[in-house]
C-alpha cells in the first residue's frame, strides 16, 4: 500500500496523540455531536471572550481516526478565531468534503479532501464541527 492520501501521517498522528483532547476547565460553552449510526461522539468545551473570540478549545472524542483528527485540528484552528469566522470555516469545510475542492481554503483541514469519495464517512469529519457550532450557539448554556 502506498502512502494513503486520506490517511496521511498527519491524520493518523493526530488521531493517536491529539493535542487538544480532554475537558476544558472553566469552559464558557459546551456542545456535543453524536452519530447514532456508529456510536461516535464528540464533546467540545470552549472559552469565548465577550467580543466573541475563542480563546481555548478542548474536545473529548470517541470515534474513528478521521473523527478524532478532525476534532483535534478543529480545536487547534479555533483558538483565536471569532464565532463568525468559525461558522464560515465550518461551511467551507463541509463544502470541500462534498466536492473534494477548495482544500487550500481550510488550512490543515485540507487533508480531508479525499473524503469526498467516501460519502458515508463525511459525517465522521464534520461531527466535531456539529459540536463546535452547538457550543458557539450556546444552546446548551441558556
Amino acid at each position: 500500500m502506498e502512502q494513503d492520501t486520506l490517511y496521511q501521517r498527519q491524520v493518523i498522528d493526530r488521531a493517536r496523540a491529539p493535542a487538544h483532547a480532554g475537558s476544558l476547565d472553566g469552559a464558557t460553552h459546551t456542545g456535543e455531536g453524536t452519530n447514532p449510526m456508529c456510536g461516535d461522539r464528540v464533546r467540545v468545551g470552549l472559552s469565548l471572550t465577550k467580543g466573541g473570540t475563542v480563546t481555548a478549545v478542548r474536545h473529548e472524542t470517541r470515534g474513528c481516526a478521521i473523527c478524532i483528527a478532525s476534532a483535534d485540528m478543529m480545536a487547534g484552528l479555533a483558538e483565536g478565531r471569532s464565532a463568525l469566522e468559525l461558522g464560515a470555516l465550518s461551511r467551507q469545510f463541509g463544502e470541500m468534503l462534498r466536492t473534494g475542492e477548495g482544500a487550500e481554503q481550510v488550512g490543515e483541514l485540507g487533508v480531508f479532501a479525499p473524503l469526498h469519495q467516501h460519502r458515508s464517512r463525511i459525517r465522521c469529519a464534520t461531527l466535531p464541527w456539529t459540536a463546535l457550532v452547538e457550543a458557539l450557539d450556546g444552546s446548551k448554556d441558556r
Partner: protein, 416 residues
C-alpha cells in the same frame, strides 16, 4: 462431490472458473481491482440471473393474476416453476408450503403477525443473543403489541448457543416459538438446528430458523432439521433483490390468518366479509415480484448446477485459509470461535476503528463491512461497538483473502 483431481487437490480453486459468470468482478474501485468480501450483506449476481430477468422483460412478461392470455399464462408458469425449485432447494414436502415474500425480514414479520396472532398473553417467544435485527425487532413488536414474553437464549464466548440455557428457557412449557438463526451473520456460527428443533418440540414449541446466511453455503433440508418455519432472502443467494421465501408446515400455514390483504389472496370478496385463498396464495397479496421470482429461479438453477458439495467444500477450505492468514496479522482479533462455522469472519484490529479499516480497505479496492451488522445486542454481548467483517461467496479466491490479510497488515503498520 466433485472428485476430479483438481477439486480434490484444492476445493478453493475448483470454483475459480465461475468468476467469469460475474461481470461485476471485472470492475475497478479507486483504481484497484474490486475484491468483494461483502457477500454476506448481499451477493453479486451471475450473468445467468441477469439474463433470465432481462429475457423475461424482453420476451415473456405479463401480470400473473388470472390472465387468460398466452403471456400471462407463460409468466405464471415460469413463476410457479420457481416454487417447485425452492421446495426442492430446501427439501420442503410440498410446493404449496412455499410463500414468496420480499426478503427474510418480511418473511419473519409475516410469521410474527400471523402465527404471532395465535400466541396468547402469558406465552413466550425465544430468540438468541446473536440474532440479526430482522429476527429480533418483529418479536419485540409482537411482545409490545400482544403482551407475550420475549426470552433471549445466551451464547458462549466462543459464539455458540448455550443449549443448556435454552433448555431452561423452555422448561416451563410456556414457549410457543423458538426463533433462531441457522447461521450467524456476524460470527459465522452454524447452529445445531436439529437439536434445537428437538428441544423446542419436546417443550411443545414450534421452531423458526433464519436461514438467510445458511442456504447460501450448505444444503438445507427442512425436514431433516425438524423446522416448522424456515426463511431466506434471494439477494444473498446470488439472486435479485425484492424476493424472499417463507417456508412453513402446511398445517401451520393453514391455521394462520392472512397477513396482507388485497388481490390474489382471496377466494371471494364481499363488503361484509371475504374468504381467503388456499396456501400459499393466502399470504401473497397483490402483484408479486414476478421478474425477481424468475431471477431467483435462475439463481437456484445456477447454484444447483455447481452443487452444494463443491460450494461447501470451497467455503470450508477458504474459511480455514482465511482464519489462518488473519491470525498472522499482528493485533488482529477474530471475534468468536464456533466449532461449526461458515464463511463470515468478524474481527477487530488493536484500536484501529473498524470504520477506518473499512475505508482503508476500500481505498485498496477491497469491500468489507464495518459496524454492528444489524446485530446491536450481539455487539453489546461481545463488548465491542463495531467489528469489521469479511464474508465470502462462491467466487471468492484464495488470492483475494491473501490480499485482504496483506492490506490489513499494511493498515496496521500505518497506525503503530
Amino acid at each position: 462431490m466433485d472428485l476430479s483431481p483438481a477439486a480434490l487437490a484444492d476445493p478453493i480453486d475448483a470454483l475459480r472458473h465461475l468468476r467469469a459468470d460475474f461481470p461485476i468482478l471485472n470492475e475497478a474501485v479507486h483504481g484497484k481491482p474490486l475484491v468483494f468480501l461483502d457477500s454476506a450483506a448481499s451477493a453479486q449476481k451471475p450473468i445467468q440471473v441477469i439474463d433470465a430477468m432481462s429475457r423475461t422483460m424482453r420476451t415473456q412478461y405479463a401480470n400473473v393474476h388470472r390472465g387468460l392470455h398466452w403471456m400471462s399464462e407463460r409468466t405464471t408458469d415460469a413463476c410457479e416453476a420457481v416454487r417447485d425449485q425452492v421446495a426442492g432447494l430446501i427439501g420442503a414436502p410440498s410446493r404449496e408450503e412455499i410463500v414468496f415474500t420480499r426478503n427474510s425480514t418480511e418473511a419473519i414479520n409475516l410469521v410474527a403477525h400471523s402465527f404471532g396472532s395465535l400466541i396468547r398473553p402469558g406465552q413466550a417467544v425465544v430468540i438468541s443473543e446473536m440474532e440479526h435485527h430482522a429476527n429480533l425487532v418483529p418479536w419485540q413488536m409482537l411482545r409490545d403489541r400482544a403482551g407475550i414474553e420475549l426470552r433471549v437464549a445466551p451464547i458462549t464466548d466462543a459464539g455458540e448457543l448455550e443449549l443448556e440455557a435454552l433448555e431452561r428457557l423452555l422448561s416451563d412449557g410456556k414457549v410457543a416459538l423458538v426463533a433462531v438463526t441457522h447461521m450467524s451473520n456476524v460470527l459465522g456460527t452454524v447452529t445445531p438446528a436439529r437439536r434445537i428443533a428437538d428441544m423446542a418440540h419436546a417443550a411443545g414449541a414450534r421452531v423458526l430458523f433464519d436461514g438467510s446466511q445458511m442456504v447460501v453455503h450448505r444444503r438445507v433440508d427442512v425436514r431433516e432439521i425438524g423446522a416448522d418455519f424456515y426463511v431466506f432472502t434471494g439477494h444473498k443467494l446470488y439472486g435479485p433483490t425484492g424476493i424472499g421465501v417463507l417456508w412453513g408446515r402446511r398445517e401451520l400455514l393453514e391455521a394462520m390468518p392472512p397477513f396482507l390483504g388485497g388481490g390474489d389472496m382471496i377466494s371471494t370478496v364481499r363488503f361484509e366479509g371475504s374468504t381467503w385463498a388456499n396456501v400459499p396464495h393466502k399470504f401473497e397479496a397483490g402483484t408479486p415480484a414476478i421478474i425477481e421470482t424468475i431471477g431467483l429461479g435462475a439463481a437456484i438453477s445456477y447454484i444447483e448446477s455447481i452443487g452444494f458439495d463443491a460450494i461447501a467444500a470451497h467455503e470450508a477450505a477458504l474459511t480455514d485459509h482465511a482464519l489462518r492468514r488473519l491470525a498472522e496479522v499482528p493485533g488482529l482479533r477474530v471475534i468468536g470461535a464456533p466449532a461449526d462455522r461458515g464463511g463470515v469472519i468478524s474481527f477487530t484490529m488493536d484500536d484501529v476503528h473498524p470504520h477506518d479499516i473499512a475505508t482503508l480497505l476500500d481505498r485498496n479496492g477491497i469491500a468489507i463491512r464495518a459496524g454492528h451488522h444489524c446485530a446491536e445486542p450481539l455487539m453489546r454481548r461481545l463488548g465491542v461497538s463495531a467489528t469489521a467483517r469479511a464474508s465470502f461467496g462462491l467466487y471468492t479466491t484464495r488470492e483475494e483473502v491473501d490480499t485482504l490479510a496483506a492490506t490489513l497488515e499494511q493498515i496496521r503498520s500505518l497506525f503503530v
